[in-house]
C-alpha cells in the first residue's frame, strides 16, 4: 500500500456527516411482505417482463429479461406470487415505467438455479456471462450494466482495473461498512473482475477518512497483488473520471469513457455482487443501503431486498424522528428527492436521506455576481455560471460548444454558489434537451 494522498482538480469538501452510521454494523432487513420491482433500474433499455399476474416466483427467479444491447435481466427479490405487472412513476426519472409487484409467501425460497459452484476454471467469457445473467449493475449509483463495462471493444485494450471505495457523498456509509465487514468478499470479487478483463494492475482507491476500510482491504488483499491507494477526502473523488485522474494521472478524453484510457472502474459493492453472481449464480436482489439524516430516529446501514418500500426501511430505523420535509434517494450531493416514501429501493440506491424542514429550506435564487466559485470547483473544467445563463436563454448550441455534455452533475457548483443559483438544474435541462434534439435529428 502506498501512502500517497492523491487528488484531482476542483471539487469541494462538504461536511462529511457520516458519524451516525459509519461505526454501525450492517443490519439485515427481513424481506418485506410486498416488493415493487421496477424493470428499469439500470442505465440502458428496461427489461421486459416474463411473468404475469398470479405467477409463482422464488427468490432470485427471472422476472424481466434484457431488451437491448445495454440492458440486464431483473429478478424477484422475495418468493411468492406476482400480484401485478403494472406501470408506476419511476422514483428517479419521474417517468412511467413497468414494475412487477410480488406478494411474499414469507418463506424466501431461493430459486433452484442458485447454488455454490467452483468458478476457478471459468473463462473470462463465462465470468462476464454469469455477471450479465445475475443482472449486476454498478452499485455506486449510476447503475450501469457491469457486464457491458467488462466487454470492451478489441481496439481498446484495458490495462487497469480500479475498484472504487471512495464513497465521497456525505452521509453515506454503505460501501464503508461493506469494506470493513466483507473485505475478503470484496477482494474475491475484484479478482474475478480482474480475470474477466485479463488485467494485472488492480488499484483500490479509498478516501483517507476511512482508515478502517483501508486497513481491512489492505489486510484482505495481502498477496493478491493489488495496490490500495489512500486518496484525499474530497468530493467528487468517487466520480469515475476523477478517480482515474487521482490514481493514474490519466484524463479520460472529453466525451470519452474510462476504457479510452485503458481503465475499468467498479464500485466495491459491485465487486461483492460479482462474487455472489459468479460463485453462487445468485442474482442481484439485495444491497446495502444507508438510511440516515436528521429526520430518521435511528440511522442504520441496512442489507435489504430490491423493491422494498423506503417507508419500510425508515420504519426499521425507528421511524421519523420528527417532521420529515424531504427524502433523498442517494447522497445529498447527487441524490434525487422522492415524492413519496413508498418508492422502492433500486439496485442503484446507496442511501436514503431523510431531512427535516430546517435542512430542506430552499433558498431564493439571487443574481450571479460572477464570483467564479463554480468555475473553481468544477472538476470537469466547465463554466457553470455561463451554462446556467445559456439554459435560461435556451442557447443550446452555445451550451454544446461549451461542453455541457461533459458535466458529471456532481453538484459542486450549486453547493458553493453564494447566489444559490440552481446551476446543476440548468445544466441537466440543457443536457436532456440536447439529447432529445439529437434523437429527433
Amino acid at each position: 500500500m502506498t501512502a500517497h494522498v492523491l487528488k484531482f482538480r476542483g471539487g469541494v469538501h462538504p461536511p462529511e456527516k457520516k458519524g451516525a452510521t459509519e461505526h454501525r454494523p450492517i443490519d439485515v432487513l427481513p424481506p418485506p411482505p410486498r416488493v415493487v420491482i421496477p424493470l428499469s433500474q439500470h442505465t440502458g433499455a428496461p427489461s421486459a417482463p416474463v411473468v404475469k399476474k398470479g405467477d409463482t416466483v422464488k427468490t432470485g427467479s427471472l422476472i424481466g429479461e434484457p431488451a437491448g444491447r445495454i440492458s440486464v435481466p431483473t429478478h424477484a427479490s422475495v418468493s411468492g406470487t406476482v400480484a401485478d405487472v403494472t406501470n408506476l412513476l419511476h422514483p428517479l426519472t419521474g417517468r412511467l415505467c413497468q414494475a412487477v409487484v410480488i406478494d411474499s409467501d414469507g418463506n424466501d425460497t431461493p430459486d433452484g438455479a442458485i447454488r455454490e459452484r467452483d468458478a476457478s476454471g471459468f473463462t473470462p467469457e463465462m465470468i462476464v456471462e454469469a455477471i450479465r445473467l445475475a443482472g449486476v449493475v454498478g452499485l455506486g449509483g449510476a447503475a450501469f450494466p457491469t457486464f457491458f463495462k467488462l466487454s470492451p471493444p478489441k481496439e481498446k485494450p484495458i490495462d487497469t482495473l480500479l475498484i472504487n471505495g471512495c464513497e465521497c457523498e456525505p452521509f453515506l456509509t454503505a460501501d464503508h461498512r461493506v469494506m470493513i465487514e466483507q473485505p475478503a468478499e470484496v477482494v474475491e470479487g475484484t479478482k474475478l473482475l480482474a480475470r474477466a478483463l485479463g488485467v494485472r494492475t488492480v488499484i483500490v482507491g479509498i478516501e483517507d477518512n476511512k482508515p478502517e476500510a483501508i486497513a481491512a482491504i489492505s489486510a484482505a488483499a495481502q498477496g493478491a497483488g493489488f495496490t490500495v491507494r489512500k486518496l484525499k477526502t474530497r468530493y467528487p473523488q468517487g466520480a469515475e473520471k476523477q478517480l482515474i485522474k487521482a490514481c493514474l494521472g490519466r484524463e479520460v478524453p472529453s466525451g470519452g469513457l474510462p476504457l479510452d484510457v485503458g481503465c475499468v472502474v467498479q464500485n466495491v459493492g459491485t465487486a461483492v455482487a460479482v462474487r455472489v453472481a459468479v460463485r453462487f449464480g445468485r442474482p442481484l436482489y439485495e444491497r446495502v443501503v444507508t438510511v440516515t439524516g436528521p429526520a430518521v430516529r435511528e440511522p442504520k446501514n441496512l442489507r435489504c431486498r430490491i423493491g422494498t418500500p423506503v417507508r419500510t426501511l425508515i420504519g426499521f430505523c425507528g421511524g421519523y424522528s420528527g417532521p420529515v420535509a424531504k427524502l433523498v434517494m442517494g447522497g445529498p450531493m447527487m441524490g434525487i428527492a422522492l415524492s413519496s416514501d413508498e418508492a422502492p429501493v433500486l439496485k442503484g440506491t446507496s442511501g436514503i436521506l431523510a431531512l427535516g424542514p430546517a435542512e430542506s429550506r430552499e433558498p431564493d435564487e439571487g443574481d450571479c455576481i460572477r464570483c467564479s466559485f463554480c468555475i473553481k470547483v468544477c472538476p470537469m473544467g466547465l463554466a457553470p455560471t455561463r451554462l446556467s445563463y445559456h439554459a435560461r436563454a435556451r442557447r443550446f448550441d452555445l451550451a454544446k460548444a461549451e461542453h455541457v455534455a461533459d458535466c458529471i452533475e456532481c453538484g459542486c457548483c450549486s453547493f458553493v454558489c453564494p447566489a444559490r443559483i440552481r446551476l446543476v438544474h440548468g445544466i441537466k435541462y440543457l443536457k436532456s434537451e440536447l439529447v432529445a434534439r439529437e434523437r429527433r435529428a
Partner: protein, 358 residues
C-alpha cells in the same frame, strides 16, 4: 399497495427539489459585508486624517447609494435587495474616490449615477459592466473637474503633497496643495512657481516622504491615503478568500516592473517603484476595485491578464496621460475588456482533446 404492510402514520408531504440537497454556508450578502468590513480601517483612517468633511462625504455617499439603489430597483420592478450589501460597498468606495472637501451635493449626484445609471440601468447586481463607483468618479471628473481635483485637504497638519517644510522651501502653495502624483505630473508649472522640479521630485521619492505615503500623512482622495490601512483590509480579504490574489498581485506587479524599467526615478529605481505603489489610489484600486467580481474576469488566467492590463494602463496614464492619476480609468478600461478576456481565457476542460493535426 398493500395497506396492511404500512404503518398507520399519515403520509408525509415531501418537498421535491433538484440536487444538491446540501449548500455551503456562503451567500452574496456574507461576501459583500466582508468587503465592507475590510474597508473599515481605511474608513476610520480617513476620518482620523481629514475629520468631519470625510465623515460627511462617506455618510452622504453611503446613504444616497442605498437610497438610489432601492429607488432604481423599485422603478424597474426588481426586488429591493439592500441587505446584500452591494450598494453599501459602492457607497463607501465612491466616497473613497472623492476628494475629502467635495461639496455635499457632489456625493449625492455621484451616488445617483453609480446606482441608477451604471448599475440598475444595465440590469442590477451582477450585470453592470463597469464598476459603479468608478463610473461615477469618471462621470464627476468630466462634469465637475475643478471640484474633483482641487479640493484636497491637508491631513493632520502636513502638506497635501506629503513634502515637509524643508523640501517645500522655496516652493509656493502650488506644491503644498497638490497631491504627490499631482506634483509629479505638473513639473512645468512648478518651475514657474520658483521650485526646481528636480529637487521636488527627489524629495517626493525620499524615504521620509515614502514613509508618510505609507502611513497616510498625505493629501488625496478620501480612502486612498494610507497604504497601511488599505493593506490591512486587503490582507483580511485575502485571508477570508473573498478576493483572488491574482488581480492585486499582477496589478501591483506590473506597476512595480514598469517603474523599475522606465526612466523617471530620481532617488533610485526601488524608491521610484515604491512611490508609484504607495501614491495615489493604486492599492485602493488593486485591492478593492479591480477585484470586484462582477467586472473582472472569471478565470485565474484571465485575472492575471486583467491585473497586468490595469497596471500597464495606470502607468501609461500617470507618466504620459493627461491626468496625474490613472487607476480609475485603467480599471474602467479593463472592465470593458473583461468579456473579451473571458472569451480567450476559458477554464481548461477536463480531458480536452488536443487539436488534431491535419
Amino acid at each position: 399497495m398493500n395497506a396492511a404492510a404500512k404503518p398507520q402514520s399519515e403520509r408525509p408531504a415531501l418537498l421535491v427539489t433538484v440536487s444538491p440537497h446540501l449548500r455551503a454556508p456562503v451567500s452574496t450578502a456574507r461576501i459583500m459585508w466582508l468587503v465592507v468590513a475590510a474597508m473599515l480601517p481605511a474608513l476610520a483612517g480617513s476620518i482620523w486624517f481629514f475629520g468631519w468633511p470625510a465623515a460627511r462625504t462617506i455618510l452622504l455617499s453611503l446613504v444616497s447609494c442605498l437610497g438610489f439603489d432601492a429607488l432604481g430597483q423599485s422603478m424597474l420592478g426588481r426586488r429591493v435587495t439592500l441587505r446584500d450589501g452591494s450598494a453599501a460597498i459602492t457607497g463607501i468606495l465612491l466616497a473613497f474616490n472623492l476628494p475629502p472637501g467635495v461639496p455635499w451635493w457632489l456625493s449625492i449626484v455621484g451616488s445617483a449615477f453609480a446606482m441608477i445609471v451604471a448599475k440598475q440601468m444595465f440590469g442590477g447586481l451582477g450585470h453592470n459592466f463597469v464598476n459603479p463607483a468608478l463610473a461615477a468618479r469618471a462621470f464627476l471628473m468630466v462634469s465637475w473637474p475643478t471640484q474633483m481635483t482641487t479640493l484636497w485637504l491637508k491631513p493632520a497638519g502636513l502638506s497635501t503633497s506629503g513634502l515637509d517644510a524643508a523640501a517645500l522651501g522655496r516652493c509656493t502653495d502650488a506644491v503644498a496643495s497638490a497631491t504627490p502624483l499631482g506634483v509629479l505630473k505638473n513639473a512645468a508649472s512648478l518651475v514657474r512657481s520658483g521650485c526646481s522640479p528636480q529637487d521636488t521630485w527627489e524629495a517626493l521619492q525620499s524615504w521620509p516622504a515614502l514613509k508618510r505615503l505609507f502611513f497616510g500623512q498625505v493629501g488625496g482622495s478620501l480612502g486612498e491615503t494610507s497604504a497601511l490601512l488599505l493593506l490591512i483590509g486587503g490582507a483580511f480579504l485575502l485571508v477570508t478568500r473573498v478576493i483572488d490574489w491574482r488581480i492585486p498581485l499582477s496589478y501591483v506587479g506590473a506597476v512595480v516592473i514598469l517603474a523599475l524599467v522606465l526612466p523617471g526615478h530620481k532617488a533610485g529605481p526601488v524608491q521610484y517603484a515604491l512611490f508609484h505603489v504607495l501614491a495615489g489610489g493604486l492599492l485602493l484600486g488593486a485591492l478593492f476595485m479591480a477585484t470586484d467580481y462582477v467586472t473582472s474576469p472569471l478565470t485565474g488566467r484571465g485575472r492575471l491578464v486583467f491585473g497586468a492590463g490595469c497596471g500597464i494602463l495606470t502607468m501609461l496614464i500617470r507618466l504620459w496621460g493627461g491626468y496625474p492619476e490613472g487607476v480609475c480609468y485603467s480599471i474602467l478600461l479593463m472592465n470593458v475588456a473583461t468579456p473579451l478576456i473571458d472569451r480567450f481565457t476559458r477554464p481548461r476542460l477536463f480531458g480536452a482533446r488536443r487539436e488534431a493535426k491535419a
